[in-house]
């Protein structure tokens, strides 16, 4: 569904990604984990069309996204929940959700999907008319995911959904991710919280300093020495 091939991204003189290739199949949950500064966010921003690669390609449904604007990608079924959530704090919860459905025009269906989000995250129902800037971090994360769901994405990109959240809230967020998958959404999640992501994902990529160091089924790589080495950047005795 998403094919990333030999992606190189630079910001000015800073190299963020150096030849990353990655594949996400229909219906999968795939995790990309790695330490701070590994290039994870850049990977997602590039896939969502907000950052342009220097070389390499990103294909969604077999179509190159190189010429597409982020808003066109949303319309074609790819949504990103960026790091830090970026809810529209001055707008109400209701307005944030309504914006999620910007690319759609089927009013009745939108209303049903809003209802679905509110059922999935009941706290949002309680605060439906409130300014979303007043929500707690966890509530904001739920709103951000709910907002993305309203575009009816087929592929959802999540950037650090557990960042700064209490453990209980993290569980709620990941329960929601599992539920999304059951309803047919493919998920690519980026995390620093390695154990949480490994537990949720079918397959995992370990990204470090802009390069994929390790990839495999999450169950196979969890806790292995190769995983430790890839994640912490220690390779064959040479400290990175």
């Amino acid at each position: 569904m998403l094919t990333i091939d030999n992606l190189h991204v630079t910001y000015g003189n800073v190299v963020a990604l150096r030849g990353v290739s990655l594949e996400v199949g229909e219906g999968e949950i795939v995790a990309v984990i790695g330490p701070n500064g590994a290039g994870k966010s850049t990977l997602l921003l590039t896939a969502a069309g907000l950052v342009r690669p220097r070389t390499g390609s990103v294909a969604f449904d077999g179509r190159s996204v190189a010429s597409l604007q982020p808003e066109a990608l949303v319309a074609s079924g790819l949504s990103l929940v960026p790091e830090g959530r970026h809810i529209f704090g001055s707008l109400s919860v209701a307005e944030n959700l309504a914006l999620g459905a910007t690319v759609r025009h089927d009013r009745a269906e939108i209303a049903r999907d809003v209802e679905r989000v509110l059922t999935m995250f009941p706290v949002l129902r309680d605060r439906y008319r409130q300014r979303s800037g007043k929500l707690s971090g966890g509530e904001q994360q739920m709103l951000a995911i709910g907002r993305a769901m309203l575009a009816r994405p087929r592929l959802l990109l999540l950037d650090e959904p557990s960042l700064g959240l209490a453990p209980l809230v993290v569980e709620q967020v990941y329960a929601a991710i599992q539920e999304l998958r059951r309803s047919g959404v493919t998920v690519l999640v980026v995390e620093q919280n390695a154990s949480r992501a490994l537990a949720a994902a079918d397959r995992t990529y370990v990204l470090n300093t802009g390069v994929v160091r390790l990839t495999g089924r999450s169950d196979d790589i969890r806790g292995t020495p190769a995983f430790e080495a890839a994640y912490f950047g220690v390779q064959a005795g040479a400290a990175g």
Binding site: Q69, P70, E71, G89, L99
Partner: protein
């Protein structure tokens, strides 16, 4: 009585400033562009009235609105779209260039002398309310401004596009990530800004009865100040700032010693500098000075 007279003057002048500041504030909220060339939109409205003088009022108004909207869209397309990722200072310099370019194009076509334009001349008479003389133009200005602001408020509050514009103003990249079409909301903002500028030119032409290629400059400077006072990026703030600056201008005009009255604008800008120390982010704090995604 004199106070009441001054109050009406202040409100009507404030209304005009608010319209001008709204046009600037709207663009800034979405693009972080302080559009100095907004003054030339005002000027273009005036010159449309001059060029078509003699046509029926409705034709004049529609033509001026169309010209200013098209000019605003043209500025965006040619000058500001390629600079969308530039920093606010570069954008401001670019708008300076656009302003200079449009001004001198008009100078080239129409010459530098101010030219008389009869427009809404019947509004120059005054109504009397028990000793209070209120020019009709002031009443119309206040009425039209309130209507327009109500309309704009409803547009932002209840329409889909309005909601998208508010989202884009708060977090442009995130708005794109939910599917808001960047080019569309920016074009909308410019078209509305052009329309607001046109309203200001109606006022200026009706008030002074003339047009000149520099007619927009002093208004745009006041509009700058107003939108900064209100809080760059806040649309409500821009309107508020406009009224506030209008009130201050009229008060200075009324209560400064006669010797100092010619310096009124110097005092306005001095107060503005002092205001910047008190509230550098303006009355309505926004995310304008913070970074994007």
């Amino acid at each position: 009585m004199e106070f009441l007279q001054n109050a009406i003057d202040a409100i009507s002048l404030g209304a005009v400033y608010a319209l001008a500041a709204l046009g600037i504030g709207l663009i800034f909220s979405i693009m972080r562009l302080i559009n100095f060339a907004h003054g030339e939109l005002i000027m273009a409205g005036g010159f449309t009235l001059y060029t078509l003088a003699g046509q029926p009022l409705l034709v004049l108004i529609l033509a001026a609105l169309i010209v200013t909207a098209i000019l605003a869209l043209g500025m965006e397309r040619i000058a500001f779209r390629p600079l969308r990722k530039a920093n606010p200072a570069t954008l401001l310099i670019a708008s300076f260039a656009v302003s200079y370019l449009v001004q001198h194009t008009v100078l080239l076509l129409y010459g530098s002398r101010a030219m008389g334009v009869p427009f809404l001349a019947d509004l120059s008479t005054s109504l009397e309310f028990g000793g209070l003389r209120v020019p009709r133009l002031q009443l119309v200005t206040i009425g039209v401004t309130l209507l327009l602001m109500g309309g704009l408020f409803a547009f932002f509050r209840y329409s889909r596009t309005g909601l998208q514009m508010r989202a884009a103003a708060e977090d442009f990249n995130m708005a794109r990530l939910v599917g808001v079409r960047a080019n569309r909301v920016i074009a909308f903002a410019f078209a509305i800004s052009g329309g607001l500028a046109c309203m200001v030119s109606f006022y200026l032409v009706a008030q002074t009865g003339s047009v000149s290629y520099k007619m927009g400059v002093s208004m745009v400077l006041i509009a700058f100040v107003s939108s900064v006072v209100g809080g760059m990026g806040s649309i409500v703030g821009a309107a508020l700032g406009g009224f506030l600056v209008g009130i201050i201008s009229v008060s200075l005009q009324a209560y400064l010693p006669v010797d100092l009255r010619p310096y009124r604008d110097a005092f306005v800008f001095l107060i503005f500098i002092l205001f910047l120390f008190w509230k550098p982010e303006g009355l309505m704090k926004t995310r304008a000075d913070r970074e994007r995604v």
